[in-house]
Symmetry: C2
Amino acid sequence: MTQVLPLAVALGEPTGIGPEIVAKAWEERNTAGLLPFCAMGDMRAIKNVWNGPLQCVDTLSGAVDVFAHALPVLHIDSAGDIRPGHPTLEGARCALNSLEMAVGLTRSGAASAVVTCPISKKWLYQIGFTHPGQTEFVAERCGIAANNAVMMLAGPTLRVVPITTHIPLKDVPDAISPELIMSKVRVTTKALKRDFGIESPRLVMAGLNPHAGECGALGLEEAEIVAPVIAQLRAEGIDITGPHPADALFHARMRAGYDAAICLYHDQALIPLKTLHFDEGVNMTLGLPIIRTSPDHGTAFDIAGKDMAHPGAMIAALKLAERAAQTRALAIDA
Amino acid sequence: MTQVLPLAVALGEPTGIGPEIVAKAWEERNTAGLLPFCAMGDMRAIKNVWNGPLQCVDTLSGAVDVFAHALPVLHIDSAGDIRPGHPTLEGARCALNSLEMAVGLTRSGAASAVVTCPISKKWLYQIGFTHPGQTEFVAERCGIAANNAVMMLAGPTLRVVPITTHIPLKDVPDAISPELIMSKVRVTTKALKRDFGIESPRLVMAGLNPHAGECGALGLEEAEIVAPVIAQLRAEGIDITGPHPADALFHARMRAGYDAAICLYHDQALIPLKTLHFDEGVNMTLGLPIIRTSPDHGTAFDIAGKDMAHPGAMIAALKLAERAAQTRALAIDA
């Protein structure tokens, strides 16, 4: 029997919807069957938007006992006022501190996984944050090159991995190098085994062009880049097929036949995921020594403090992190 | 009361699944509530794959009476053998003749609309067909420039219009000119009124880049091309919003708020449509003097003649054509 470790939940931007969805997730801990987690951030951010029971804790082990009757919080003091929907430099510093603490405690073995609430990139950049986003920051803290940290988006019936992410569409054709695709597919395959417990992961890969290039008539990237990469990955023993026409890859019958779809650009992956699972999408970083998940939405400043935020994606992120932690623990026990 | 005119159904490639799905649609005429239609093509193509009652007719008006007890066919003799899954040059000629006849009869006022079964472009090109596809051929026969014939894909809960269609992804950024977008949006708006009976059509438009460019950080096409075009179209009185992040545009709550989504490239439109409505997608050509719909799938040579083809998309194409014809007729009567 493995010891029960709580999840470390970074509250992220204190004036966004993070504090509200964490509190609402705690309210649903019994109906959703959630394991103990501990919030890290400024307690005032939660008090501002929630009347439920909060309890300050000093250690993560203390959080496990508290969790049944109150939301445990490792308090991080933010210097300024906290007004929902009104971000500040002090709030951004607090968001970064909460991420740093959650990652550090998980790296040290005190938490089973990191779940991160949304941050505001714009405000983080203003306090000197130099990473493109939280994913790259977490990867660096774990000693992993950013290219080997793979973003997976997961919903109840679909997992997608975009090979390129936040770049203009016109830059995508030049960015999809064989090395990048192979590296990300290998990481994905390992993570499906290690974190999802899938013994023989089945992958599909989308083409870049309409009809996957239609034998070269509608583009050459499939023949020149994607098909040779798939052949090499298959030779390594990875069960991956394609390149498939992207538009035929995501209906129910097709989805039943694979464990993850490798996509070449942001919207090719995110359109089907959010079309099907808009309120339940989880962003998971694969390829790290620790487990990290996140609800797949932003700070939503426009609805912060209005009791309108839905905790569905946060609950899904917590459950996915729990399951991955249990899967890893079982493998160690075995 | 408008006279009941039958729909003209072009059987398309005789060795594909067209004949089978037309016969199966006729079988469901009562349960699906279909109005009379008349198939045009070689009767042998249907006999090969179906044992139901067929009746040769000489005129479309004759087809209306026949329809209740047999599938009416305007026979077009194909010179060679017809073996499902084995296309020939003679079959391609027959497919082109069936399309020509269906368009001609509808142009003449003898049919209420054209519904086209899949053709094989590869085989049509071999008999000297110079149009990219059936859509452009139909447009030319109607005296409409190909750029003003707009492809709409429609399913039960989503209609999408791709501004560019069958071109490589890398050519998309240069192809999305303001003129092209404006022309296609205007045609779409008119068609939603004329063919769908929507008095005040509400349109949304997707951006090209991730997060619709994120204020220029992830691409400039939104600011330089899409936003000014939307402003101009709104000034003309067209109810269109955007550019929206494409991945947030197709979930159920969002879909409830618009009548059609304008997309910038093939897969941006086709991924959500086929993810949601793979077996019911209808391709409709907007901007023509006649109504033309088509099931949104191909010849499926691999399953032709095996009794495996599903008539869902054909039935949806027939019903959409019926409704458009009724909507136009009501407007004339009024």
